[in-house]
Amino acid sequence: MADQIISCVINDDGSVTADAAGFKGKGCVETISKLLSILHGQTLGATHKPEYRQNVTTQTQIKAGR
């Protein structure tokens, strides 16, 4: 099984948008929520959407505010 890659984009206002792609199932939201928790920003929004490629993967995106 492929590893999971987590990408955190630091936006111009200092907020962070994190994506976790490459694995399926629950746990991704928890992982990046925990990662962003050090910023103690308000979690502005989280989406969890399946992406259908050759294998079913999920992509999770959470944005943490300042």
């Binding site: 890659i5 990408s7 955190c8 984009v9 630091i10 111009d12 200092g14 962070v16």
Partner: protein, 139 residues
């Protein structure tokens, strides 16, 4: 005398703040870190009522500058204390850059703490925004 102004921040992690400062003009040898808040001094060397845990002394801030401080609050966040005079250079743009540097170092620290493999920092195509990447091994 230039009045001090305070601004609340999102900074909570001391190490990440210090690393962030190092990317915004203040290397490690120019940053004072104290367990108890210490007095800030103005451009004449006179003590001011304000105190801070992390201090950038005026000789490193610039000509005719006052000390800049970061005071840790009871809720764990830091309040930045900058004189009106120095806020011309240490303005909202400087604070914004510091926030971005802080976010990067805080993420790296937290990722390592979680056992993630830090892959590096790159620039997002198109925007140039920094991207901090990690790998998580799946069972």
């Amino acid at each position: 005398m230039s009045a001090y102004q305070t601004q609340s921040t999102c900074f909570e992690d001391k190490d990440s703040l210090i690393k962030g400062l190092s990317e915004n003009g203040y290397g490690l040898n120019t940053v004072e870190v104290h367990d108890t808040p210490q007095t800030l001094y103005d451009y004449c060397g006179h003590p001011r009522p304000q105190k801070a845990h992390i201090i950038l002394r005026r000789q490193f801030v610039g000509g005719a500058a006052n000390d800049i401080g970061f005071l840790k609050n009871t809720d764990g966040t830091y309040t930045v204390i900058i004189s009106e005079y120095d806020s011309m250079r240490h303005n909202t743009a400087w604070i914004a850059n510091l926030i971005k540097s802080y976010a990067k170092h805080a993420l790296i620290k937290q990722g390592k703490r979680m056992g993630l493999t830090f892959l590096g920092v790159s620039a997002q195509k198109g925007t140039g925004r920094p991207i901090v990447q990690f790998r998580k091994a799946l069972a």
